[in-house]
């Protein structure tokens, strides 16, 4: 019960904070609103880290997140809530991303601060509710609320030309969410028919008793929402539009969406509907390799900085997807690690690129160049993040890529040859990603001097702080990946054992 209350508090705190801002408590005083949101997020992140650490039964540092913090309180009926390992890791990651975005938002959001900060907090709360939910109703309500918050934020804080893409994203997202709701309704009906309480735990236990057709329908319903959020090829256009028109402060939206999609893929498609996932894993692996190469190639040829960055984001997501399809402990571990590492790297890189485009007052790469001599701090951080993105040793990118490749080789699925071949093609994706990153870095920071008429300022203090924290995290995870892998391994082991059963 204590855990249940903690989870409720943890999930709803951002909502309350957002309501305080939204209700006009601070009377449109932008400085106070900004500081309140920032300090709240910082304290909240510390609280979350402490809670997760404190809940852990094993005091080893390598096992910060253990699955002991998994609650299903029968006393509350269907409205059950609680974090499992992956949920808690992703929750902590999202609270960290939002904290960094708040730090970056100081100069990125110049108007409607009340709306921005409150809705980002609402969005955070909704995402945390999705991650912690063990109940169909809460899950569906939270995911719809998250989609609405994302829509309002992007609609209000991106240029007018981006509204079409925003609407498209809302439509696509809603379509996927409604299909998900339909799928849950089906599960609900089946569980009730079998006289079982309708929650995710019972769904997990009884999923293998469902007929193949129903499992297939559910699998595609869950896959659709993952395909929209991660995104897969064909579903990427609206999200690309959002990234293209976002600023540094809004990067938390698309990164959170990606994390959410990945969470659904692991938890529902992979863990609960394991039989179907096993059948489709080679196809998904091939799709992910296609995604990887397709988006990375597009990123190289694209002239618009943010658009090319969007393509690069999508290609990086595919690495994790490919590793996941191997259904091995190393692969799942690598996929989750890649997801975390990628979120941190992309957040930092997007921040750097946004600052660079603010200086040049354009996002067109041909009109950028020679920024390194005038903004050395920005160049240094960008270079470190670029190297981490490439996967240089001693950065989190290397550990993630190492685990993903190892996972690909250690696959035990029935068609392991396909996964091995896909694993070899990953090389192509890595190389293309590296080419994109290094050429973009060179174009912005070296290249021809396009900076004559622009007002050049190096990183301000708050931006430096945000990038320094991100760099620190990336290097820490690169040097000591066992901080995360210890706990992820347990979760991965649980998933793989369910496949072996």
């Amino acid at each position: 019960m204590e855990n249940f209350i903690s989870t409720i508090i943890f999930t709803l705190l951002p909502l309350f904070a957002g309501l305080i801002i939204f209700s006009g408590f601070f009377k449109n005083n932008t400085v106070v609103i900004r500081r309140f949101a920032k300090y709240f997020s910082a304290l909240y992140f510390i609280f979350a880290a402490y809670e997760f650490f404190n809940r852990n039964t094993n005091s080893e540092f390598g096992n910060v997140f253990s699955s002991s913090f998994y609650i299903l309180s029968s006393s509350t009926g269907g409205l059950s809530i609680g974090f499992d390992t992956i949920g808690s890791i992703f929750a902590l990651l999202i609270s960290f991303l939002i904290l960094i975005c708040f730090v970056m938002a100081k100069s990125a959001v110049s108007s409607k601060q009340r709306l921005f900060y409150s809705f980002v907090l609402f969005f955070e709360s909704a995402i945390l509710a999705v991650l912690s939910s063990q109940d169909f109703c809460i899950f569906c309500a939270a995911i719809i609320f998250a989609a609405l918050c994302a829509y309002i934020l992007v609609f209000n804080f991106s240029p007018i030309r981006a509204r079409k893409e925003t609407k498209e994203y809302l439509v696509l997202n809603s379509f996927a969410v409604f299909i998900l709701c339909g799928a849950f309704a089906l599960v609900y009906a089946i569980l009730k028919y079998n006289s079982l309480e309708a929650n995710l735990l019972n769904f997990t236990y009884s999923s293998s008793d469902l007929s193949g057709t129903i499992q297939l329908i559910l699998f595609f319903a869950f896959l659709l929402i993952s395909a929209v959020k991660i995104p897969f090829f064909g579903f990427h256009r609206p999200l690309l539009g959002i990234i293209t028109n976002s600023n540094a402060a809004l990067s938390c939206i698309f990164l959170s969406e990606f994390i959410l999609g990945f969470f659904i893929l692991i938890k529902f498609n992979m863990y609960i509907l394991k039989d179907i996932f096993q059948i489709f894993s080679p196809s998904l692996a091939m799709l992910s390799i296609f995604n990887l190469c397709y988006f990375a190639t597009l990123a190289i040829g694209e002239k618009d900085l943010k658009k090319s960055f969007g393509y690069f984001c999508f290609s990086q997501s595919s690495i994790a997807l490919c590793a996941l399809c191997s259904i091995s402990i190393e692969g799942i571990c690598g996929a989750i690690f890649q997801c975390i590492s990628q979120s941190l790297i992309l957040l930092g890189l997007f921040g750097c690129y946004c600052f660079a485009s603010q200086i040049f007052k354009t996002t067109k790469l041909p009109f950028m160049g020679a920024l390194a001599p005038v903004a050395p701090k920005l160049a240094a951080f960008s270079f470190i993040l670029t190297l981490a993105g490439i996967g240089l040793p001693f950065t989190s990118g290397f550990s993630a890529k190492f685990l993903c490749i190892l996972g690909g080789f250690s696959t035990q699925v029935y068609s392991q040859n396909i996964i091995w071949v896909c694993n070899l093609f990953i090389l192509l994706g890595f190389a293309l990603g590296a080419f994109y990153l290094i050429s973009t870095f060179q174009k912005i920071f070296f290249g021809a001097d396009e900076c004559k008429d622009c007002k050049v300022t190096d990183l301000l203090r708050h931006r430096t702080l945000a990038l320094a924290v991100l760099t620190f995290c990336i290097i820490t995870l690169g040097v000591a990946p066992y901080i995360l892998t210890g706990s992820i391994t347990k979760y991965a082991d649980m998933i793989v054992s369910s496949f072996l059963m």
Binding site: E168, G234, R237, Y294, T297, L298, I300, G301, E302, I329, E330, C333, G334, A372, L387, I390, L392, P393, F394, F398, S399, K401, F402, L403, I405, L406, F409, S410, N423, L424, I426, L427, F430, A431, L432, A434, F435, I438, S439, Q442, F446, G447, A448, V479, A480, P481, Y482, T485, T489
Partner: protein, 634 residues
């Protein structure tokens, strides 16, 4: 008393400390004179060199005993990754060579950097960190460590190539270098991980050892016995391809000359047998693995000989001294690799070292000429420097004689390879190596006559060269003259040092032929460029191919740029038109249906066209429903 293991650790971390010190000075903006930074770097490299000699002495004295130590630095999932030391003869000889080259680079660099007035501290930071990384690479105890450090070395190569980042050419070239290196690194990484998994991760393995070089033989045997031969061959071929790219072999040879925008001392390091031998060193370490699949040696032979020959031909056409140097280094590495392809393990290392000293000597003399003549690097605008810089001319001549294989170290190393090929009856390769020798001799003496003989054609008067620079060429000259001789005369020493075992006696017939062929090259160059009795030979096709670098540049541009851009444009077209159309289809359809509905509701549906469409749709729907209901398709 400090034991040798501690000394080796100290040796590795001295450059890192030096780098940290210089970085702190730069960041804190302390007013320390540039001379102080130079001295600190010099002292660091000298200390490292002394320790490396101690290590070499240790490995020679305790023959067969390998210094080994592993320290677990991180665990990725359940795989412990070690930072370790594995010091045998091979690593000791390469470490000593590396430390010597860095000492020379340090001594040489001061005046050069003072002259160029740019990036003084940055240069020493890069230099020390590169030394640290190379030490970690050569002394690494396991394959993963080797590959990880190789990846970071690629970064340093990029940073050196982009040192003068204001130059557009430096930016373009450094990017290409980085792309080639990254491609090779990922191939090696995938091969290493595949080998790691397939050789160690078996269900009955309780603890997973990392790929230590001490048990690479047993791991290779195990995986060879248990694996599908195709997979094993794939792993070996991936290692070879990665190593060939790292060693700038065909068709990736332009990688070396693309680094020519680097500062001269750094460029000398890049073309030295240290940086070019990174791939070869990896191959030597994995030699037991390749022994199990002898077919892969064919790749080494072919790639090596093609690189050697094409490199020499390209150097014939070049006029830029840095470019000639880089192609010469690539060509010599190709011969060493070809020898490795014939399983001449010790001979290959011997050749690499002998040719390496000669190459380094030539590159440093050319750097001195560039320094003296105010960065004039085109041999067409040089000449008559023998009178102005006699010592430099002498050193260049020694280097040219050695690398051409007339006498000194170059002669011995080449003679052994040729004799072995002759006794094994590999006449094709023998002839190709002789052809390479001819071309090498020709372009080196062409360069000599162009630079040192005739009249000076430069615009500024050559300036005086410092004693420190002379010291560098003095050391390298001595090594070029004596190294091969010592090794060939003291068989036990050479066996202890590089594992070279004299399997075939030097064949006098082959060596006389080889000498004559090199002499022909000299004679031709003498007559064309000195006495001018002959005019330059113009075989149009070869000249055109050589000037185009045998289309190696175009190949690299094609696979790393043009092809990707082409595919990207196709994808962009798909995105812009087809995907856009698909996305707009639901909205257009919805609008159309809505329009129809409105019209229908308002009873304005007069058009026969709409009515026909509605009827057709209805009929199709009914037909399909009936079709499924009758059970033909279930």
């Amino acid at each position: 008393m400090i034991d040798i293991l501690t000394l080796v650790y100290i040796m590795i971390f001295i450059p890192l400390l030096c780098m940290a010190g210089i970085t702190l000075v730069k960041l804190a903006k302390l007013q320390i004179p540039q001379y102080g930074i130079f001295i600190s770097s010099l002292v660091s490299s000298a200390a490292v060199f002394l320790i490396s000699i101690l290590l070499l002495d240790y490995t020679i004295t305790y023959q067969g005993y390998t210094l080994e130590n592993n320290y677990p630095i991180c665990v990725i999932q359940n795989i412990p990754l070690y930072f370790g030391i594995y010091a045998d003869n091979l690593s000791a000889i390469f470490t000593t060579l590396l430390c010597l080259m860095f000492l020379m680079a340090n001594i040489f660099s001061y005046r050069y950097l003072i002259q160029n007035k740019q990036g003084f501290e940055r240069f020493y930071i890069y230099l020390n960190i590169l030394q640290f990384l190379l030490l970690c690479f050569f002394i690494s105890s396991n394959l993963i460590q080797c590959v990880a450090f190789l990846m970071v070395i690629s970064l340093l190569e990029y940073l050196f190539a982009n040192f003068y980042f204001q130059k557009p050419q430096a930016q373009i070239n450094s990017k290409k270098v980085f792309e080639i290196n990254v491609f090779a690194d990922f191939i090696l990484l995938i091969a290493s991980i595949a080998f790691l998994y397939f050789s160690t991760l078996t269900p009955d393995t309780v603890s997973i050892p990392t790929l230590g070089f001490n048990n690479i033989n047993s791991l290779g045997l195990y995986s060879f016995a248990s694996l599908n031969p195709l997979i094993f061959a794939f792993i070996c071929i991936s290692f070879i391809i990665g190593a060939l790219i790292k060693s700038a072999q065909f068709p990736f040879s332009p990688k070396v000359y693309l680094c020519s925008c680097a500062p001269n001392p750094a460029f000398s390091l890049i073309i030295s047998p240290i940086m070019l031998a990174l791939g070869i060193f990896l191959l030597l370490r994995l030699y037991p693995l390749f022994n199990l699949t002898p077919a892969v040696f064919e790749i080494l032979k072919i790639a090596g000989i093609i690189t050697a020959l094409l490199g020499a031909f390209v150097a014939l056409k070049e006029n830029n001294i840095k470019n000639i140097c880089s192609w010469m280094a690539v060509s010599q590495t190709g011969i060493a690799l070809c020898a490795l392809g014939f399983k001449m393990y010790g001979t290959s290392i011997f050749y690499l070292l002998c040719a390496g000293f000669g190459t380094a000597l030539i590159s440093y003399t050319l750097d001195m000429i560039s320094y003296s003549t105010g960065s004039q690097e085109n041999i067409k605008f040089l000449g008559g420097l023998r009178e102005k810089l006699p010592l430099v001319a002498f050193a260049f001549l020694i280097g040219a004689i050695s690398v051409s294989g007339f006498i000194f170290s170059g002669f011995y190393s080449r003679a052994i390879i040729l004799s072995n090929l002759f006794s094994a009856g590999n006449f094709t390769y023998l002839i190709l190596i002789l052809l390479t020798s001819f071309a090498t001799s020709f372009y080196l003496f062409r360069m000599y006559f162009r630079i040192f003989e005739g009249d000076y054609r430069g615009t500024i008067e050559p300036k005086r060269i410092g004693r420190a620079m002379y010291f560098v060429i003095f050391v390298l000259t001595a090594l070029t003259i004596l190294f091969g001789h010592i090794l060939i005369k003291h068989v036990n020493f050479s066996f202890a040092l590089i594992g070279y075992n004299k399997t075939a006696a030097l064949n006098p017939f082959v060596n006389v032929i080889a000498f004559l062929i090199s002499a022909m090259g000299y004679y031709l160059a003498y007559n064309i460029y000195y006495t001018k009795r002959l005019t330059s030979i113009r075989i149009r096709t070869v000249r055109k191919l050589a000037s185009q670098h045998f289309y190696m540049d175009s190949f690299i541009d094609f696979i790393f740029r043009d092809f990707i851009i082409f595919i990207s444009k196709i994808f962009a077209f798909f995105e812009k038109y087809i995907l856009n159309f698909i996305y707009s289809l639901p909205s257009v359809t919805a609008r159309f249906v809505s329009y129809l509905t409105i019209k229908f509701e308002a009873r304005n549906m007069n058009s026969q066209f709409f009515i026909i469409i509605l009827w057709i749709t209805l009929i199709l729907l009914l037909t399909s429903v009936l079709y499924f209901k009758t059970g033909i398709i279930r």
